[in-house]
Every structure is written in C-alpha cells, then in structure tokens.
C-alpha cells in the first residue's frame, strides 16, 4: 500500500466495493428466493446464486484489495471447486426431491424424467413378480 493513494488505487477500491455490495446482494436474493418460492425445485434455483456468482464477485474483491498477484491462483482454486461441487449437491437434492415428490407437477413445463422413472418402476415390479413366482409353486 502506498502512503498516498493514487487515482488507480481509488478506482480499484471503488470496483472492489461495488463487487462486495453486489456479492452480498446475491446472498440476500438467495434468501428471499428461499422464503418466497413455492416448491423445492424453484428454491434450489434460487439457492445457487450466492455460491457461484456471489462467491466469484467476493473473491475478485479480495484479489483486488490485496494487490498481489500470487493470491489469484488460490482464489481461482476456491472458485473452481465451488463451481465443480455446487452442481453435484444440486443434482442430488433435485433427484431426491423428485423421487420423494417434493414438487408441484403443475408448475413444470416439461418432465423428461417421468418416463425413465416409470420404466425403472416397471422393471422393478417385473423382477419382483418373477421372484414371487419362483417362491410360490415350488
């Protein structure tokens, strides 16, 4: 840090301040979405905001404030792992939510999973019937 701030310093400070406020607003948006959306799927849509764009903006503001180059790879690693792991948890929560019927069917425009789930249920029922017949007459 220089003792007297230059014009570049002021600009970088302003940009990082804007990034921080917008990143915090992403968290607020996620919370409002969690409170106001009607079912699990739409809440899940809102919940990923602070984790991807919000974290990106805040990490960028950390990098801008510290004014050293070597922190950027570490911040990049933190963000990359967030981007890699958020879809995994969202996929698992969405799958479990579909299977346990935590959704409003009337709010969906298409449901591409329904045919697959019905087919798997048919196969399971057929296997169960075959097993019962094996047990029964013998």
């Amino acid at each position: 840090m220089n003792p007297e701030p230059s014009a570049v310093d002021t600009i970088v400070d302003a940009v990082s301040a804007v990034f921080m406020v917008v990143g915090a607003l992403m968290s607020l948006g996620a919370a409002i979405g969690l409170l106001r959306f009607p079912d699990l799927m739409s809440r899940m849509h809102a919940a990923t905001k602070p984790q991807v764009l919000g974290l990106f903006l805040l990490l960028a503001s950390v990098g801008l404030q510290l004014r050293t180059w070597w922190v950027w790879p570490v911040l990049f690693v933190a963000w990359i792992f967030q981007v890699l792991t958020v879809p995994v948890s969202a996929h698992m929560v969405g799958r479990a939510g579909y299977r346990t019927k935590h959704l409003h069917k009337e709010l969906l425009t298409t449901d591409e999973l329904e045919a697959v789930v019905l087919k798997a249920a048919d196969k399971k029922a057929a296997a169960k019937r075959a097993a019962d017949e094996d047990d029964g007459p013998a």
Binding site: A24, L28, L34, A47, L58, V62, S89, A96, K101
Partner: protein, 92 residues
C-alpha cells in the same frame, strides 16, 4: 469508504442469514432445510471473504478453499438417505 461498505454488507448478509434460518426453521421438508443450510454456509463464506477484503489479510483463505471443496458433502449425504414419510404428497 471501506467502513461504509463493511456496514452495508454486514446488514445485507445479516438479513440473508436471517432468511435462511427462517427457512431452516419452517421449511416443510428435510430437503428444504438442507438447501437452506447450504445457503447459510455460502453466506458465512461470503462474510469471510468480506472480512479478508476489508481488513486486507489472508487468514481465512484456506478455510474458504476447504469450505468450497468439502461443503457439498453434507447435502449430498442427506439427499442420498432421505425418505418420503408423508401421508399426502405435495403438502409443501
């Protein structure tokens, strides 16, 4: 200027955390609660980031990387073992 930004973001993040905690308390199903606790974890990560940026230190950086690597395990585990115990579907 950083003090003003710190105050604004502290108010915003407190409101967001309160919203997530309300959803954890009322949220009708287990998966809603897991999702809200995931959001609460992200809000705590955001607070750690803002602390680092305003005070210009890097003490929380490794904590943040570790959070982003292993933070998803909890919700994946709960989603793997969740079961439907409701009488009526679609009550949420």
């Amino acid at each position: 200027m950083m003090e003003i930004v710190l105050t604004i973001t502290a108010v915003i993040l407190s409101l967001a955390a309160a919203g997530a905690i309300v959803r954890i308390a009322i949220g009708p199903s287990l998966l809603d609660r897991v999702l809200a606790s995931d959001v609460l974890l992200a809000i705590i990560g955001a607070a750690l980031c803002i602390d680092m940026a305003v005070n210009r230190h890097l003490n929380n950086l490794m904590l943040l990387v570790a959070l982003s690597i292993i933070g998803f395990i909890g919700s994946v585990t709960v989603a793997r073992f969740v079961a439907d115990r409701r009488e009526q579907p679609n009550e949420s």
